[in-house]
């Protein structure tokens, strides 16, 4: 069974981890081409979750990163790149990660 959701209903949504703690907001979705015999599909590979949310929406990733660079210490920003299969989208209005905050941070610190 498959469902359809509009991208703008996902963007900006708060994302929680399995314990209900806030990971961030959906800032961007990354997609790549998947080749088939009958044609090509674009599939979502990653979810970019961050604590900037609205600022990134308005300012765009480059400017947001530039702001971060200058204000980094003043404004705590955490960004996560989560593969599609580590996201729980059974309820698109309330997306959740499958990993806990600790696991995500560990993954991030490793990268």
């Amino acid at each position: 069974m498959s469902r359809e959701v509009a991208l703008h209903h996902l963007l900006g949504r708060a994302v929680l981890d399995p314990h209900g703690r806030k990971v961030g907001r959906v800032e961007e979705l990354r997609a790549e081409i998947e080749l088939h015999e009958h044609g090509n599909d674009y599939v979502v590979t990653e979810f970019h979750i961050g604590s900037f949310g609205a600022v990134e929406s308005l300012a765009g990733p480059y400017f947001a990163r530039m702001l971060l660079h200058h204000l980094g210490r003043l404004v705590p920003y955490r960004g996560h790149v989560i593969p599609w299969n580590r996201m729980d989208l059974r309820d698109p209005r309330h997306p959740r990660t499958l990993d806990t905050l600790e696991q995500l941070r560990a993954e991030q610190d490793r990268a």
């Binding site: 308005l58 765009g60 480059y62 400017f63």
Partner: protein, 405 residues
């Protein structure tokens, strides 16, 4: 090099197209009330405009996309509505004022009341947009607008104290009537830095097929062109200062403004003032109508170009037609053109942040600007202009209430 011809044309177009009802009216009122002491507002406004135009022009030349196009894609439709409304409302009022300017000029020339001229002016402007190409509309009106050099002639004949003019280029606090002083400063800034100007310039770059090779043309046109244009506006202020201030004349009607040239140049001056008023305001009328159409068409993704036949871009053509015809209605009903001009300039000033601040993001977006993104100098200038825009946003309307006539 062919580019020198384009540079020359661009500069000349900027000079001839600089003056319009807002800059004339606000410079005259500034000069009449405070002599040369508001010259700094003109200088500041002109410099800001030059910087904003260079940037939106560079944006279009490098990315092949207009500022409005990038704004919609960047902000998303939900946030794009804000600049859309914030630009179209003051722009429409300015448009009404420009038609008012032409109408008053024709009233002074023929004796027929300005209300009767409103619709004919709109129809002539509409016909030009309907049948003309972008080059014809932009360059045609701007080249005719070179008649505004008469203000330079008038200023020279009035023998002002040029050292005092120079001193006025540095900001000073007023000795009297503080509210009116700052109100006039704001309206001069609003007349100089009207959003439709740099939005139109960005769209125009695309109409003229600018690409990376045009960066120098862009810099000179935006920089030098506006510098000379601003210089002309300064001459308007100088004329008004010499003619009105010593006699303590309170300027509250366009008919008085004609004295600015009639005094040094007699009847020829009076005639040339009328011609200048009519031509420059008419040029601004068609330009603002087009600018509004670009705003909607590029924002919503419609086909657009002044070089297409109207049947090929019907929503675009309908938009500029509606704008120019609707704008004639208040004037046809007898609205006071000078009062409208003053209000529209202040609203223009207040609306600046929504079109200036997103430029900070776009001019630094390497995917759009590649290696031509802003350096630290450009960003510093843009941040300062953004701060000015925020100050104007907060102060403009209160000052209109406290200091406006």
């Amino acid at each position: 090099m062919k580019k020198w011809g384009e540079i020359g044309l661009g500069v000349v177009t900027s000079i001839g197209g600089f003056l319009e009802v807002g800059s004339i009216a606000t410079s005259v009122q500034g000069g009449a009330n405070f002599g040369f002491r508001l010259a700094w507002a003109l200088a500041l406004g002109t410099i800001c405009l030059a910087i904003l135009m260079e940037m939106t022009g560079r944006l279009a030349a490098v990315s092949g996309r207009s500022y409005v196009d990038l704004l919609r894609e960047h902000m998303g439709i939900r946030f794009f509505i804000i600049p859309l409304v914030a630009v179209i409302v003051p722009s429409f009022l300015v448009l009404v004022s420009e038609i008012g300017g032409v109408a008053i000029g024709l009233q002074m020339a023929t004796g027929i009341a300005f209300r009767w001229w409103a619709i004919p002016i709109a129809l002539v402007g509409w016909a030009l947009l309907w049948r003309g190409t972008f080059s014809l509309v932009e360059q045609g009106t701007a080249l005719l607008g070179l008649v505004s050099i008469v203000f330079l002639v008038g200023a020279l004949k009035l023998h002002p104290q040029w050292s005092a003019v120079g001193a006025g280029l540095l900001p000073t606090a007023p000795s009297h009537d503080g509210a009116k002083y700052w109100y006039l400063a704001v309206s001069i800034l609003g007349a100089s830095i009207s959003p439709y100007l740099y939005l139109f310039y960005s769209a125009g770059a695309l109409e003229d097929d600018w690409n990376i090779e045009y960066l120098a043309v862009n810099r000179v046109t935006a920089g030098v062109g506006n510098l000379f244009g601003g210089g002309l506006a300064l001459m308007v202020l100088v004329c008004a200062a010499v003619v009105f201030l010593p006699r303590h004349i309170e300027v509250d009607a366009y008919e008085q403004i004609a004295l600015v040239l009639a005094t040094p140049l007699g009847r020829t001056g009076f005639a040339l003032f009328l011609i200048t008023l009519c031509i420059t305001c008419f040029g601004a009328t068609v330009e603002i109508s087009l600018s509004g159409a670009y705003l909607f068409a590029q924002g919503f993704g419609w086909p657009w170009s002044e070089n297409l036949r109207p049947s090929q871009d019907s929503r675009f053509a309908t938009t500029y037609s509606l704008l120019i015809l609707l704008a004639s209605v208040p004037i046809a009903f007898g609205a006071d053109p000078l009062k409208l001009t003053n209000i529209s300039m202040v609203l223009s000033a207040a609306s600046l942040p929504v079109t200036v601040i997103p430029l900070l993001a776009l001019m630094n977006d390497r995917r759009v600007m590649t290696s031509h993104a802003n350096g630290w100098l450009g960003n510093t200038a843009l941040v300062l202009i953004s701060l000015l825009a925020l100050v104007l946003f907060v102060a403009a309307i209160p000052l209109q209430i406290l200091g406006g006539g």
